[in-house]
Each structure stands twice: as C-alpha cells, then as structure tokens.
Amino acid sequence: MAERQVTFKDAVLEALAEEMRADPSVVLIGEDIGAAGGVFLQTKGLFEEFGASRVIDTPISESAIVGMAIGAAMTGLRPVVEIMFGDFITLGMDQLVNQAAKVRYMSAGGFTVPLVLRTAIGVGGNLGPQHSQSLHAWVAHVPGLKVVMPSNAADAKGLMKAAIRDGDPVVFFESRSSYNTKGPVSDGEHVVPIGKAAVTREGRNVSIVAVGAMVGVALQVAERLAGEDISVEVVDVRSLVPLDEGTILKSVKKTSRALVLDAGYAQFGVTGEIAALIAEQAFDWLDAPVMRLAAPNVPIPFSRTLEPLVIPSRDQAAAKVRELMGTR
C-alpha cells in the first residue's frame, strides 16, 4: 500500500476525522478545540467539517469535562476528550480513577465507558513545572483504564483509531516533542491494536524497552552503538495497559540485557514496573542487572540550562548500555 510522510499531529487528526466520518456518535470535547483548531492546531479543520455539536468547545473545567464525557460515554456517545496539557489530567483524576475505571466492573459489563482522553505531555519549550510533566504512570496505576503512548505517526493514527473503537476508557498520551515529527503512514485503513508492543529494531546484545518519545532516543542510541559493535534491539512499548509482557520478555530472553527508558519520573514509575517484570520473569536469562533511565525526581525546571537535564539523553542511554555490556 502507498505511504505518505505525515506529522505525528496530522496522523492523529486523520484518525479523528476518519472515525468521526464513520461514526456519528464520535464527538470531541475540549478547550479551544473548535473554531480555533486547538492550541497546537491538533484539531484543525474538524470544527468546519463536523460543526459545533460534534467539536465541542468547553469552559476551562477539566473535572467536569472528563466527568461529563464519562456520562456521555455511558449513554451512547464516543467522546474524545482533550486535556490541553498532560499536567492538567490531575484535575480530572477523580473522574478517571473513581468513575471511568470502575463502571464496567461495578456494573458487571452492564455499562461501558467508550471514552478516549488525549493529552499532550513532555518537556520542551521552557514551559516550566506545570506544563511539562509526563504523568502517564498515574493512570497506568489504576485497573480499569487502558493507557497508550505512540512514538511515531503511524502508531499515533492506528492507536487513536483503535482507542476510539474500544469499549473501555483509553488514555492516549502524545509527546509534544513528537508533534511535528514526520513518519510514513500508509494510505487507507490503518488500525494498531491496543496491547501490542513492537520490535522497532532487531538486535542481539541489549534490549532497550522504550516508551513514547524515548523510542526515538533508543533508535538513535542503537545506531550509534552499532559503530561500537554493540547490537541493540529496541522494543516500543506502545501500550502501557494492557502491557504486552510477551514481546518484552521475548526480546530480553534473546539479548539477556535490558535498559528500560521512559521520560516520566523514575520514582514509582513505568521503568520500575517494567524492570520488575523482567526481573521476575526473565531472571534466569539475564547476564546483567536490569537498568533504567527516566526523568530525575524533580519538578521540571524552566531555565534553558536546567530544562534539558530532566530529559533522558542519548549520552545517558548509551552509557547505560555500555555499562550493561561491561565495556564502560
């Protein structure tokens, strides 16, 4: 099938437009997403095509936006709620944790919540401590929510389509730093199943298990280390919940060494969870302790000199891999 080069942001936009055309119950709900087209122009053109009743501009009331979307999802709509910055999901947390996550379980499947919450996360542009966090571990902690985090344009489109069609609440994290990165997207129908990781690069010596924008870092590190005769396999986690344990474990059992890479905080976070999985279920295959690289445990600072220090870097990741290989 023919492919086009599409930015991450436009790939999501394509998914939204296609699903809205196919299913009149899909609506978008969020701040500034209507005629303005979104603060990142991530909903550009949808208001013109689908009108105010399906691209719903809201007041700045995140708790109620999320809560109402749950009620709407229980009664026949498929809302895609947008929370402008991932930092603001905290305002909708009660709704996600205490309502959305539990409706199917508490009603024994009588009600479902086919809701997508999309939100832009990550460091970049000196937006400071309240507009830069990657809080995906918060929602991944709660049984009943699904959590996806695409790293490239094709997966962004395919996972958004799958999320909209899913019968459960799906939180869809988009790294702001990926928004304008182009990648190949195939023409025609493209759906990526939730709960499936991808081996993005095959290798023999070390597995880097990476999440979201960190997959790009992992691929660059793999390329660099190939020149040092270290063969790195890159696993793109894609879905945090459900986690594709099989693909991760298979890779680690093959390479016998693992680095887990995430832009969220290290403490009580995604890297620790995946490292524990590997330690518990692939211990006998390991030739070195599982390592992890994540954001240091500090608020994301504003200054141009401090901000880069909280993003896991290629140099740090390469150093960890060399350490795993005992070649440092």
């Binding site: 009331s61 024994a108 009588g110």
Partner: protein
C-alpha cells in the same frame, strides 16, 4: 399530575406504594445490618422517600438517573428489582454488580440508572454528560441527578451547572437537603444559599417541601417539561430529613431531639396517607393492610437474597476490561 390537577386514587396509591416499598426495604436493611449481615457501611433513605418517588413518577422509562451514596430509594423508584438490589447490598453474586459494587455502587442499564455513587457529587457530571448525549443525538429522554446538600459544596457541581445552562442540556438537578452531611450541619459549612448556587447560572430553582410527595411531583413535572422543551436544566431543592443516622448504626447524638421529633411528624408516608383518606381515595384500614403486605413481600425479598451465594473467587477479574 401538575399542581392544578386533581389527585386520583390510582396515582395517589402508586405513590404511597412506592414510598412504603422504600421504607420497608430500608428498615429491612437496617435490621440486617444490626444483625451483622450487611458488609461495610450502608446509608438509609428512610424519611426522604417523597423525593425519589415524587421525581421518578414524573419521568419516562428511558429517562436516565444518577444517584448518590444514600441511593436505594432512587433505585427502587426507578424500577430496580428489589431482589437484585438486596443481593448487591449483601454482596451476593445475583446483585446488579455481581456483589462487587455494594450499596454505593448500584448500576442498572435496564432502568437507565447510571449508578448510586460513593463520591459525593459524583453523579452530577454523569447525569450532565448523559444530557449531553441526549442533546447531541436529538433524543427525547432527559437525565436526573439526585444528590445531597453536601454535594452543593463540590466545585464540579458548579462546573456542570455552568455547561448545562450554557448548552441548555435536558437535565434536572435534585438536591435533597436533609440538613446534614455526615455529622455536620449544612449551615455550618455553607455560605450563601443552596438555591443561589444554581441561580447564578440562570438556572430556575424550585424550593419545595421534600416531605410532600405531591409537591415534589408537581415541581418535577414542571422541570421535566422545561427540559423536554429544550429550555435546559432546573434545580429542585427539597427540604427533607433522614430519619436514621448517616449510616445504619449511627446513633445521631449530634441531632436535636425536639427538631427530630418535629420532622418525624412530617413523615412523607403518613402525610400522603392522611391526604388519601381525607380525599376519600383510600381508607385507613386498607392503607395499613397494604403496608403489611409490602413489608411481608420485602421480608421475603431479604430472605431470598440472603440465601443466594457469594461470588466465586474465580470471578475476581471478570468485567475489568471488554
């Protein structure tokens, strides 16, 4: 029935039956709880029956409701099966949530009940969102949120009222002011008025005697008509009183005896009964016989539910994801 229509015997008796059923159910839960048969905490609706029954009798079967932690009355008034309701309250597998939800988490698609709710104010966004569905899909049904006076100090309620008023959503907000949130008097924690909270959004408010089922019904009829005509939300503030403690077993030492006695005299069931008798729509003996029959039915319901099995361990993860 609107304010000016005449009360008929059939309708009056259906309201009476509805309220007595709730009372009998709640008193049965109370005795089961006292006997240690009810897991966890359960909040009884005795005293507030006129609100659930008065509002529900103004609704159509496809109208949606959300309820709160004191929610058995709303479930029954919306047509819940008392056996499945009791089974859930007792944590049995035949319950609405297979025994995983309990009293504060009863959801039933068949009666369009989006749930009792353990989060104070939690049902308000759900009902408002349901109303958004109705509006978006051009459906004729509406949504009702029942909540306590305590929920009127939750910010999300105002966020919802703002959007409901702005978008003229077909939603009816029903505040049951029983004057207490747990052990705290509402006046001690509330600036301004309950009615004023909706008025700022231009939402019409009716302040009604929540012990008078006919008054509640009439006000609900008006609000429902407004919502169906596309005129948007309304708020009913129903003045009421819980006859029992915050939860079954609470001794209510924080309540004033004289005040409690005064409210007891306003019992919504007695009040309607007297009115039916005065209007010659029923006689006292037949009402008392009806009460006895319903109490016996509910006792049988409780026995049936109690005999049901607890969920199997293997069901722990059922219905987590689709």
């Amino acid at each position: 029935m609107t304010t000016n229509e005449k009360l008929t015997g059939d309708f009056g008796l259906s309201l009476y039956r509805g309220m007595v059923t709730i009372r009998a159910f709640e008193e049965r839960v109370r005795s089961l709880s006292a006997a240690g048969q009810v897991p966890g905490l359960t909040h009884l609706y005795s005293g507030q029956e006129a609100v659930a029954v008065g509002v529900s009798s103004a609704l159509q079967p496809d109208d949606a409701i959300t309820s709160h932690h004191r929610g058995h009355g709303h479930c029954l008034a919306s047509g819940a099966d008392p056996v499945r309701l009791m089974a859930e309250i007792l944590g049995r597998t035949a319950g609405y949530g297979l025994g995983r939800g309990g009293s504060m988490h009863i959801l039933d698609p068949a009666t369009r009940n989006l749930g009792t709710n353990g989060i104070v104010g939690g049902g308000v966004p759900l009902a408002t969102g349901a109303a958004l569905t109705a509006k978006t899909l051009h459906a004729s049904w509406l949504a009702v949120a029942f909540f306590g006076d305590g929920a009127m100090n939750q910010g999300i309620v105002f966020e919802c009222m703002n959007m409901a008023a702005l978008w003229k959503l077909p939603v009816l907000y029903v505040c049951e002011n029983n004057h207490y949130g747990e052990f705290t008097r509402i006046d001690d924690v509330t600036a301004g008025t309950l009615a004023g909270r909706a008025a700022v959004f231009g939402i019409p408010v009716a302040e009604i005697d929540g012990m008078d089922v006919l008054a509640v019904h009439a006000a609900a009829q008006d609000a429902v008509a407004r919502a169906r005509e596309g005129q948007g939300p309304s708020l009913l503030v129903c003045d009421t009183w819980r006859f029992s403690g915050h939860h079954a077993g609470d001794k209510q030492s924080y309540k004033d005896d004289a005040e409690a006695k005064n409210w007891a005299a306003k019992c919504p069931i007695e009040t309607l009964g007297r009115r039916l008798v005065a209007n010659k729509l029923a006689d006292a003996d037949s009402l008392s016989a009806l009460r006895k029959t319903i109490e016996a039915d509910i006792a049988a319901v409780a026995e049936q539910a109690r005999a049901m099995p607890e969920p199997a361990s293997a069901s722990l993860e059922d219905h987590l994801h689709g």
